[in-house]
C-alpha cells in the first residue's frame, strides 16, 4: 500500500517520523511530502521512507515573481532579522493577502496547487493519505480529489497511524 503523509507545516515531526516508520515496518510504501527539508534536518526517517520536499517542484511563474519581489530581495536588502520580520508583517504579507493572491486566484483559479499537482503526477498514485498537521489540510483535500479523479477510487484518509 502506498501511503502519502502530508507534513507541510513541519511542526509534528515526531509523529510523522514514527508513523511513517510504522507504515514501512508493516510492508507499506510511505512517502512524506514536506514543504522544505530545512526543518527536518534533525529528524531520522526509516530507510524505506521517501521524503519529498515540495520546494523541489517549480512554483508557477507569477508566484515565483511574487516570492522574489516581495520576500527574497527585501530580505537581502534589509538584512537584519527583526527588520525583515517587521517588513513582512506590515507590508509584504498584506500586499500578498489583499492584492497579489486575489488577482492571482482570479487569473489562475487552480494555480496555487500546481506544485502539488506536479508532485502527484510524478509520484502518485497513493492508496491512502495521512494528514499530519494543520497546514496540510487544504493540500490533503486537493490530493484526495486529484487521486480520486485519476484512479477512480477515493484514497483512504487518516489523521494518524496506529503504532
Amino acid at each position: 500500500m502506498r501511503v502519502l503523509f502530508l507534513a507541510l507545516g513541519g511542526n509534528r515531526r515526531p509523529a510523522v517520523t514514527a508513523e511513517s516508520r510504522a507504515v514501512a515496518s508493516a510492508g507499506g510504501r510511505p512517502t512524506v511530502l514536506v514543504a522544505g527539508l530545512g526543518r527536518w534536518a534533525g529528524e531520522t526517517f526509516a530507510a524505506d521512507v521517501d521524503v519529498v520536499p515540495l520546494s523541489r517542484y517549480r512554483r508557477h511563474w507569477p508566484l515565483a515573481i511574487e516570492h522574489l519581489v516581495l520576500y527574497r530581495v527585501p530580505r537581502v536588502l534589509l538584512r537584519r532579522p527583526g527588520t525583515v520580520s517587521l517588513y513582512n508583517r506590515l507590508f509584504a504579507n498584506r500586499v500578498r493577502r489583499w492584492l497579489v493572491r486575489p488577482v492571482y486566484g482570479w487569473l489562475w483559479p487552480d494555480g496555487i496547487h500546481r506544485q502539488l499537482d506536479t508532485f502527484l503526477a510524478g509520484c502518485g498514485p497513493f492508496d491512502a493519505v495521512v494528514v499530519s498537521d494543520a497546514r496540510s489540510f487544504p493540500a490533503a483535500r486537493r490530493a484526495v480529489d486529484s487521486l480520486t479523479a485519476v484512479t477512480g477510487r477515493t484514497p483512504r484518509v487518516a489523521f494518524r497511524v496506529e503504532l
Binding site: G9, N11, R12, P14, A15, A18, E19, N93, R97, V131, D133, A134, R135, F137, P138, A140, R141, V144, T154, R156, V157, A158, F159, R160, V161, E162, L163
Partner: protein, 401 residues
C-alpha cells in the same frame, strides 16, 4: 467493559507526545470505558485566511476519514485533530474542540449515558456541549496551568458552565481543590478528590542496591526544575564518580541543558533519551536506582507514583501533589525536599538518602500500601461508585482487576 461510559480528553498518548495524558490512558485501562474521544489541538502558523481554508478542507475530509482504533481496556479510541492557529486562548481551544467533536459525530450527541471528561475546560466544555441532554457528566481536572486558564474571562466563564453542568468535578490533589474552591465557592460542594490510577503490577525484578543511576522523567521545561537537577548532579558527582543521570523527556530546555552538561564536564555521564512510550519509561525505571523529581509544582505527581510502583526510591520536591500522595511514607520511599531556586536542596536530599541507604528505605512496603489507595482496582471502584451510584445504570461488565 463499561460501554455506558464515554471519555472526552484533550490529552492522550500519541506518536507526537508519548507522555501526554498517560494518566488518562491509565484511567481508561483501569475503568475500561466504551469509547475515548481524543480531541487533540493541532496548532500551526496559520493566517486568518489560511485558517479558514484549513477549516473548510478539514470539514470536507472529516466524514470520510478513519478516526477509530483500539486502545487499552478494549476501548474504542476516536482521534479527532483540532486544527487552529497557535497561541489562541484556552476558551477558543475548548470551543473549537467542541465543534470538531460535533463534526466527527456527524452532528449527533455522544451516545453514552455517562460522559467523563478530562481537563476542566479543554475536555469538559466539549463533553458538556456534545453529551445527550439526559447524560451525566463527570470531569477530572489535572491541569497545572489552571491559573492562566481562569485568568482569561472566557476561560473563567467556560469553567462556570462546566461546573454548573457536571454531576461531580474530580481533582487529583488538594492544591487544585483549594484553588477551585476559592475561585468558585458556589460549586465547592461538587469537588471531590480522586487519585490518578497507577499500575502496581510491574515491580522491578531485584531491589536497588546502590544509588548510582539517577533518573528524571518529565518535560525538559522550567517548571520541572531540570536546570537545578543538572547542577546538583554535577556537584554530587564530584564526590561520587560512579553517578550517572538519564533524562527522559523533551522540552525547550534540552539544547541549553546539553550545553550546560558540557560546561560542567559531565556530558558523557548525562544521557538525553528524549520522549519515550510509557512501556519504555517503565523499563528505564527498572534499570535505574533513584528517581530525582525536582518539580516546582505538580497537581498529583504521576511519575513519582509510577517510580514507587516500579520499586524505585525517590527524591522529590514538596511541590503540591507528592507530599500528599506519599504522606506517611516519606522516609520509606526516599527523601522529600523543599522547592528551592538552586541545587542545594537536591544535593542535600541525595546525600541524606545516600548516607542512610538502605536504612529506612522500604519501597516494597510503600508500594503495597499505595496500591491500596492508587491501584487500578481502588480507582476503578471510586469511578464506578460515582458513575453508577444508586438509581443509575450499572456497568455492563467489570473493568480490569
Amino acid at each position: 467493559m463499561t460501554r455506558d461510559v464515554a471519555v472526552v480528553t484533550p490529552w492522550y498518548p500519541s506518536a507526537q507526545m508519548p507522555f501526554r495524558g498517560a494518566f488518562v490512558r491509565a484511567m481508561v485501562e483501569a475503568t475500561a470505558p466504551g469509547t475515548v474521544y481524543h480531541t487533540e489541538v493541532w496548532a500551526g502558523r496559520l493566517s486568518s485566511d489560511l485558517d479558514a481554508e484549513v477549516g473548510r478542507a478539514y470539514r470536507a475530509l472529516l466524514p470520510s476519514a478513519t478516526l477509530s482504533s483500539r486502545t487499552v481496556g478494549g476501548a474504542e479510541l476516536v482521534s479527532i485533530p483540532v486544527p487552529m492557529p497557535r497561541g489562541r486562548p484556552f476558551a477558543e481551544q475548548a470551543h473549537r474542540s467542541a465543534l470538531a467533536l460535533q463534526w466527527a459525530l456527524g452532528g449527533a450527541p455522544i451516545p453514552a449515558p455517562v460522559v467523563h471528561a478530562h481537563v476542566g475546560l479543554l475536555g469538559g466544555l466539549p463533553a458538556l456541549r456534545r453529551k445527550r441532554s439526559d447524560a451525566r457528566l463527570f470531569v477530572t481536572e489535572h491541569a497545572t496551568f489552571l491559573d492562566r486558564m481562569l485568568a482569561e474571562p472566557d476561560g473563567h466563564a467556560g469553567y462556570v458552565e462546566v461546573l454548573a453542568g457536571c454531576e461531580a468535578f474530580f481533582v487529583v490533589g488538594d492544591p487544585i481543590r483549594e484553588q477551585l474552591a476559592d475561585a468558585f465557592p458556589a460549586y465547592a460542594h461538587k469537588l471531590r478528590l480522586i487519585p490518578n490510577p497507577i499500575d502496581f503490577d510491574a515491580p522491578r525484578p531485584a531491589p536497588v542496591t546502590a544509588l548510582c543511576r539517577w533518573l528524571f522523567v518529565g518535560g525538559l521545561i522550567e517548571r520541572k526544575g531540570v536546570r537545578w537537577l543538572l547542577e546538583a548532579f554535577a556537584i554530587c558527582r564530584r564526590d561520587d564518580p560512579a553517578l550517572t543521570l538519564t533524562l527522559v523527556g523533551e522540552g525547550e530546555l534540552r539544547p541549553e541543558l546539553e550545553q550546560r552538561a558540557a560546561e560542567l564536564g559531565v556530558a558523557e555521564f548525562v544521557r538525553f533519551v528524549g520522549a519515550v512510550p510509557p512501556a519504555r519509561a517503565l523499563r528505564l525505571m527498572h534499570e535505574h536506582d533513584v528517581l530525582v523529581h525536582p518539580s516546582r509544582y505538580e497537581t498529583f505527581g504521576v511519575v513519582v507514583m509510577e517510580a514507587v510502583a516500579a520499586g524505585l526510591p525517590v527524591i522529590v520536591t514538596r511541590c503540591g501533589g507528592p507530599e500528599q500522595t506519599l504522606a506517611g511514607f516519606e522516609s520509606q520511599a526516599g527523601e522529600l525536599i523543599d522547592v528551592e531556586d538552586g541545587p542545594d536542596a537536591i544535593v542535600a536530599g541525595f546525600r541524606r538518602l545516600r548516607d542512610r541507604f538502605p536504612g529506612g528505605i522500604d519501597v516494597e512496603a510503600v508500594r503495597r500500601a499505595l496500591a491500596e489507595r492508587f491501584g487500578y482496582q481502588a480507582v476503578t471502584r471510586m469511578h464506578h461508585e460515582a458513575w453508577f451510584e444508586e438509581g443509575h445504570a450499572r456497568p455492563v461488565s467489570g473493568a480490569r482487576r
